[in-house]
């Protein structure tokens, strides 16, 4: 049933369509004239269907975060196109970014680095609302408290600093800040990888709830297939800067086409199968 619904949603026009996207970084070694080139993205083609959770998986260094940064307009690609809601955004002018950026929000891996340590929780959530001049005064405080409650944080903690929250609570705070501007697309870049299993599951459940409440499309970036396999509607696999496979979760798990996807699945299953053998009837 859930699979059918995901297929129906995917039949609608894609929210994001990436075509032939390339990005190269050129770095120079310290005290040397030598340069080395990293082709982070090589002719990437991918689509993100609306109202779905698409997972982007791959090894470290496969280009996942560079793709996310290009989608969030934090990096400018060297070539290629990014179409969002029918509009090409890869080289959006500075004056267009103010209206575009609220629609695509990002939650980063390192929550302690992504939140201003000198701000209170309320200030962290209020900042984008103030910059975008959405609300002010007493309503601003009310809206920040509503957002905290929505992500499972007590509004009584609104005046605490970011460092007074645990890792999982800081990620909830980052999600609340991302939701403040009512985005269409939420990108979670390895946002769960530093968290323990219990906190990961709690955040995934929160994500499932807010996706429905906000009609949100999500791109979940992770190196952990076992994690995304529990929640994703679609899975795109990245390897050495290209998308090597993209399909529904069932299809990727049941009949992976690319050798690297099979390798990723084998590594995941070695651990999962051993666990099931030790714990028969665990489901």
């Amino acid at each position: 049933m859930a699979a059918e619904q995901a297929t129906k949603r995917a039949a609608r026009p894609a929210l994001v369509r990436v075509h032939a996207l390339s990005k190269r970084y050129v770095q120079r070694r310290i005290f040397s004239r030598d340069k080395f080139v990293v082709d982070a993205l090589k002719n990437v083609d991918v689509e993100i269907p609306p109202d779905c959770l698409t997972a982007l998986v791959g090894e470290s260094g496969s280009g996942k975060s560079t793709l996310a940064s290009c989608l969030a307009m934090l990096e400018t690609p060297d070539s290629g196109e990014i179409w969002f809601e029918g509009r090409e955004i890869s080289r959006a002018a500075a004056c267009e970014l103010e209206s575009l950026r609220p629609k695509i929000q990002m939650v980063f891996q390192d929550s302690s680095g992504a939140l201003n340590p000198r701000f209170s929780a309320a200030q962290i959530i209020a900042e984008p609302l103030e910059i975008q001049r959405r609300v002010s005064g007493r309503k601003l405080r009310q809206r920040t408290c509503e957002l905290m409650e929505e992500v499972g944080l007590s509004a009584d903690w609104a005046d605490r600093s970011a460092h007074e929250f645990s890792g999982g609570q800081r990620q909830r705070l980052a999600i609340a800040r991302a939701l403040a501007l009512r985005p269409t697309l939420l990108i979670l870049d390895e946002s769960l990888s530093g968290l323990d299993l219990v906190t990961q599951a709690q955040i995934l459940n929160l994500l499932a709830e807010i996706r429905i409440a906000h009609s949100l499309t999500c791109l979940l970036i992770s190196h952990d297939l076992s994690l995304v396999g529990q929640v994703a509607d679609h899975i795109a696999v990245m390897h050495k800067g290209t998308i090597i496979e993209r399909d529904t979760r069932q299809q990727v798990f049941e009949s992976p086409r690319h050798a690297h996807t099979r390798e990723l699945l084998a590594a995941t299953r070695t651990i999962a199968s051993a666990f099931r053998a030790e714990r028969p009837g665990s489901e």
Binding site: M1, A2, G58, E59, S60, G61, S166, G167, G168, Q169, S193, G194, L195, D196, L197, V198, T199, A201, Q202, L204, N205, A208, H223, D224, L225, S226, G229, Q230, V231, T248, R249, Q250, Q251, V252, F253, E254, E263, L264, A267, T268, R269, T270, I271, A272, A274, F275, R276, A277, E278, R279, P280, S282, E283
Partner: protein, 339 residues
């Protein structure tokens, strides 16, 4: 089988490599409120045994590792006893501890990129550990360092030895850290989340390296993790920690096959959600354990897990459960372990 409370005397007969008894750790400077991290923790490890320490962030796993190595910060107040080969580690001088660290007990840090010095070649860093605990000459130390890197499946050991940490990939750094920890053939290695933030392929490789080394050197290993799946088929025993205490421990086959504590069951249920070969995974929300670990200084009476427990009754609020042994070698602290 009737559960019997465990007396200290029943554990005193078998010689152990490491015996932690009634270990309590609190943090806080003089005159400030103390923050508890470990509460009356008991733990035993035999030579060559792999013990998995399982639990959420904030339940005291890393504090336990640092207590054993005498690396706790200056404001830590430690009570209890840590016997290593019948020698008390608590209260040892820094000079005595230095002779043990690296040589007898070593640590694999969860962030090898931070644990290794950025301004020394990795070969020199491994050779430094060997030099500190042996009389080997410079050339022999270098050869030993390269041999150690080959033992952790780094084929190009010469290149790796000459590299600085920033020139290595995440997987290579983890192997270097393992090689460094095992360089002096210690009796006990503590691996604190050694595969954290590694991708699944590198994670499987590192687990393979640790398995091989355990077989090759027969080193006892404390493997700290929040993911039960990593311990399957590897750990001989599993200790589940919650709120600074061991709430359940036993042979891994029993812990995974028939867990008794609701907290252990909750952790294992999360792993069971991984999709099968056909991609099917149970629908609906994930079966989470609600809430988070408690602030230990706020604990009064009763079971620390009670606010999050689905099986709690009146007694859980008022009394702290004693440690029971319902099966040989399988201990649990819960009033409802049989239900």
């Amino acid at each position: 089988m009737k559960s019997i409370p465990i007396g200290r005397s029943s554990r005193d007969e078998i010689p152990r490599l490491l015996r932690v008894c009634g270990l309590s750790v609190k943090y806080g400077a003089d005159g400030q409120a103390l923050e508890a991290a470990l509460r009356q923790l008991d733990l035993e490890i035999s030579a060559g045994e792999v013990v998995g320490i399982l639990g959420e962030s904030g339940c005291g796993k890393s504090t336990l590792a640092l207590s054993i190595l005498g690396l706790l910060p200056a404001d830590a107040r430690v009570d209890g006893s840590i016997l290593f080969r019948n020698e008390e580690l608590l209260g040892m001088s820094e000079a005595q501890l230095r002779r043990i660290r690296g040589a007898k007990i070593s640590l694999i840090n969860q962030e090898p990129g931070l644990a290794l010095s950025p301004v020394m070649r990795v070969g020199e860093q491994i050779a430094e550990v060997i030099g500190a605990h042996s009389g080997l000459k410079r050339k022999a130390r270098k050869q030993e360092a390269e041999a150690m890197l080959r033992a952790v499946n780094l084929t190009n050991a010469g290149r790796i030895c000459a590299a600085y940490p920033h020139q290595l990939s995440g997987g290579e750094l983890h192997r270097v850290a393992i090689g460094q920890a095992l360089a002096c053939r210690p009796d006990l290695v503590i691996a604190d989340e050694p595969t954290r933030s590694l991708d699944v392929i590198v994670q499987a490789e590192i687990l393979g390296v640790l398995r091989n080394l355990k077989q090759k050197f027969g080193t006892a290993l404390i493997f700290i993790t929040h993911d039960p799946a990593l311990l399957v088929g590897f750990a001989d025993r599993v200790v589940v920690m919650y709120a600074g205490r061991a709430v359940e421990q036993g042979p891994s086959s029993r812990m995974f096959g028939r867990p008794l504590h609701p907290y252990t069951k909750g952790l294992l249920n999360l792993v069971a959600r991984v999709p099968r070969r056909d991609g099917s995974a149970p629908a609906g929300l994930l079966p989470v354990i609600p809430g988070g670990p408690p602030y230990l200084e706020a604990l009064t009476s009763g079971c620390a897990f009670e606010p999050r427990c689905s099986r709690k009754t009146e007694i859980c609020q008022s009394e702290d459960p004693e440690e029971l042994m319902p099966e040989a070698g399988h201990r649990v602290s819960c009033f409802h372990h049989g239900s």
